[in-house]
Symmetry: C2
Subunit: 235 residues, 2 copies
Amino acid sequence: MLFRQFFDAESSTYTYLIASGVGREALIIDPVKAQVPQYLQAIRELDLKLVRAIDTHTHADHVTGLGDLREATDCITAMGEFTRAECVNEAVREGDMLDVDGVKLEAIYTPGHTDESFSFVLDPLKPKAVFTGDVLLIRGTGRTDFQGGDAGKSWDSIVDKLFRLPDDTLVYPAHDYKGWTVSSIGEEKHHNPRLAHSTRAQYIELMNGLVLSNPKLMDIAIPANLACGKLSKAA
Amino acid sequence: MLFRQFFDAESSTYTYLIASGVGREALIIDPVKAQVPQYLQAIRELDLKLVRAIDTHTHADHVTGLGDLREATDCITAMGEFTRAECVNEAVREGDMLDVDGVKLEAIYTPGHTDESFSFVLDPLKPKAVFTGDVLLIRGTGRTDFQGGDAGKSWDSIVDKLFRLPDDTLVYPAHDYKGWTVSSIGEEKHHNPRLAHSTRAQYIELMNGLVLSNPKLMDIAIPANLACGKLSKAA
């Protein structure tokens, strides 16, 4: 399998380009608009055909590359069914199986960071990895204080859905701020400081007590992302 | 296999923590002093025993974590035999095989960026990956203008040694500045803009014509790295 993780230093976002091999159809998860030229270079040089660009959720901290990638490659843009981004071509539901030329992804509805967040399990019959967006981060979890975020739902998504995956399933989040690139379900079960030794009630109290400033790009990113990354002319 | 890539955003350095599995002996390649607490956290949480810390060469852009890791874990510190860092415990030679609890690395002498740079091939009998330090970067090569750097030797190391590895060998460099995390030998053969369509003479001319400012940490990093990352009291 061809697997490429990219990092956008401006927003600390991870993006994943996946195909069953060189020369095959490919998908991309959580692309960043400013990095689209890099992805297109990789796609060209690896002789891939991009057929799907997926956002795990409506990001508030960077502008999505979905629209630009669709324009450049004619790929399908996909998000979970509860997204408010009308520009998305494909609305994915809980349990849907995406198959891109042999790369299989199962969609799981994992609200909490937002009310429309999905995660995607690679090779669901024998899970290799899960792309968790912002609901489960490495030794952390995504904030739950805007866009329909809900600490209780975050706990339920992580503990009742993601933590049922095998311990050796690799965890690839949409962000990391400390230089970690990957984790595993087992590690997060045992070492995630917000989850490992908490009850659901304690987690909700912790998350609801966080005082966080808004992401600096939020007022630009959310409207732009509802339009697949097309910036309004006023922006 | 357990494989963790870490990123130091300050110096854009990649560091690799590798073991045959959770609970086993581990090695680390190109650790950054400021990130040592992160590596120690991962080592502790993954129940690893760090037995070797390796620098591919004397870095000029960040301070090595070798000394701090040795102090914290009693690991062996290793570098190529031509290093001037007297504090290093183990001097590795061309063709040496390191075996850390089942993880096998072959040392290859790859001068060019510096005159003491080594690369390390993972699973040399059926190469999976190569850790190239700064001699071969993703779509680039390390500068050749200080610390015994030599453009001709850089070409020879890359073309006559690294490019003889199978095309699907993954390339893990010590740095990337554009958000790419991995490449392959085949990709660099065909798409590295400094190498793919050049002769040796053209490459030497190109590299010798680069006008680069010194790394901002150079005057601190090189003396510190010759002391395994111990900063002088004056610094």
